[in-house]
């Protein structure tokens, strides 16, 4: 066989693969502007997880179980759980008995007690790591929602929370989680009902488009968005809309009996049969 043939074949494969890769790269969201993207390339996403865990360690005042210890069974950090549902997890669960004298002795020199940040304003200390995690991986959605929660709820920095969520939305335009958090911010902090309603509605549309057809959809996020929207409608006197949202919520809620009680209350207010 002529030696030029394999070379020509290799060149053709290389050109074709290169072209496909170029198209694939161009089709992805543009997040190559940051210094980290320039320096680390795609590997920065692996660092983002570590940095997010660092924020969780700061939430525990330096204490955190290593990869060599047990991971959380739900696969989520305590920080994210706290932002989701004011988590009060078992503080003794993660404490391992000392295995030997070196471990016993070593516990004197690093934070070995499971404690949370307590003082008002201390929560600000986790923010640099969340900011860095977002820089490293702009497509990690929970970085934005968790940071926004702490900024809004604990530090009263509503404008900064909104700006950060909007930054997250630019990087993840289809994220129903970020839209849900943004809607919550408009409803609870800005008291801007029309805008909150529009954002929640958009979040629901995004959720239905992405999750509804999945075998295991993210029902918790959907339930949270529906719950927020229903409460918003109820508080503004739109009881019919609230009733419709609560009815949808009942189907996905982990506590359908509680939702049914709210539905019954609303029906009673509207004078409809139970």
């Amino acid at each position: 066989m002529h030696t030029a043939l394999p070379l020509a074949l290799a060149l053709a494969v290389a050109l074709a693969t290169g072209g496909r890769l170029l198209l694939w790269q161009q089709s992805r969201a543009h997040d190559t502007g940051s210094v980290f993207a320039l320096l680390l390339g795609e590997s920065r996403r692996a660092f983002a997880s570590q940095v997010f865990l660092k924020a969780d360690a700061y939430f525990h005042r330096g204490f955190y179980t290593s990869v060599f210890d047990l991971a959380l069974p739900e696969g989520k950090t305590h920080l994210a759980k706290a932002a989701e549902s004011h988590d009060h997890h078992n503080h003794t669960q993660q404490q391992h008995p000392n295995r030997d004298w070196i471990e016993t002795f070593g516990r004197n020199f690093y934070p070995s007690e499971h404690r949370h940040i307590e003082r008002l304003g201390e929560a600000r200390e986790i923010l640099p790591w969340l900011r860095l995690a977002a820089e490293l991986d702009p497509h990690r959605v929970d970085t934005y929602t968790v940071a926004a929660y702490w900024l809004r709820e604990r530090l009263n920095k509503v404008n900064e929370a909104e700006a950060f969520l909007r930054e997250g939305l630019r990087a993840n335009p289809d994220s129903y989680e970020i839209l849900g958090e943004l809607g919550r911010l408009y409803a609870e902090n800005h008291r801007d009902v029309p805008r909150a309603r529009a954002v929640f509605d958009l979040a629901i549309v995004k959720w239905l488009r992405q999750e509804a057809s999945k075998p295991n959809p993210d029902e918790l996020a959907y339930a949270q968005i529906l719950g927020q929207l229903a409460a918003l409608e109820e508080s503004t006197g739109n009881l019919d809309r609230a009733l419709a949202h609560f009815t949808r919520l009942k189907r996905v809620s982990p506590a359908p009996d509680t939702v049914q009680k709210r539905i019954d209350e609303l029906k009673a207010k509207l004078g409809r049969p139970l």
Partner: protein, 258 residues
């Protein structure tokens, strides 16, 4: 003792004259200042990340200073052939080693003190607190740890041919111990015998440098470490330092000098 101290003074003066420390100190200052100038959600009172970065740089610089300063001592004396008149004075080989160790350790201690003073200033500028005793404990433990590293590097400088290879091996070993040795027992327990016993024995034999790393306690404003624990840690460091120095003396006393 006078002989040892005279040798140590020469080492300290040599380090003062060299540029290594100044370069590392300026780098630490510049990087900490850059990290401090970042605007994080319009909040100027965030401080712990800055403490973390500053202490990380201090620890890295401390290791570099201790290892590079120690690794070149004996090879430089050999290369310039000043070791012959020194040992003919008469200075015993044991005194020579002890003098070199003391000089490197004191020089490293001076560097650590300056670094922690800078750390205290950075911390106070944002935190408006000055927990001097906590910083002293952290700096003391750091210096004790560097004592083990200096003794270990001194042993390496007799065994390995070039200062560069010795420096690299010591740096990788120290960093590996700092990062992983705390978890070796957990890994050992997940293995089957006889690997489990072998790894556990290795875990107990290693000098646990991470025991001296109180950075997280300082960063998160924890209470003081119990003084009896500090004393025990000092004793632990002294034991390993003595062991490595003794091993270095054993190797060095019969080694031909040229």
């Amino acid at each position: 003792m006078n002989t040892i101290w005279a040798l140590a003074k020469v080492v300290v003066l040599e380090m003062v004259r060299r540029k290594d420390f100044y370069v590392l100190f300026i780098l630490t200052v510049l990087l900490t200042a850059t990290a401090g100038s970042v605007n994080l959600f319009n909040d100027r009172s965030i401080v712990r990340y800055l403490k973390e970065i500053c202490l990380l740089l201090i620890w890295a610089s401390g290791l570099v200073i201790a290892i590079t300063c120690t690794a070149r001592q004996i090879p430089a004396e050999r290369e310039s052939r000043t070791i012959f008149p020194l040992l003919a004075k008469p200075v015993t080989r044991g005194q020579f080693l002890l003098g070199k160790f003391l000089g490197c350790w004191v020089a490293t201690g001076l560097a650590v003190a300056l670094f922690y003073l800078f750390f205290g200033l950075v911390s106070a500028s944002r935190d408006h607190e000055w927990p001097v005793l906590n910083y002293l404990q952290a700096a003391w433990l750091h210096w004790m740890m560097l004592g083990i590293v200096v003794a270990f590097t001194l042993l390496g400088s007799i065994i390995f041919a070039a200062p560069s290879s010795n420096g690299t091996i010591c740096f990788v070993s120290a960093a590996g111990i700092l990062l992983l040795s705390r978890h070796l027992n957990k890994v050992a327990l997940s293995l089957a015998e006889p690997l489990q016993s072998l790894l556990y024995a290795f875990y107990f034999a290693l000098p646990h440098l991470e025991l001296f790393d109180a950075r997280d306690l300082v960063i998160h404003g924890a209470e003081l470490i119990r003084w009896d624990m500090i004393a025990l840690a000092t004793l632990y460091a002294a034991s390993y330092t003595a062991f490595f120095l003794f091993a270095a003396w054993l190797v060095f006393r019969r080694r031909p000098l040229n």
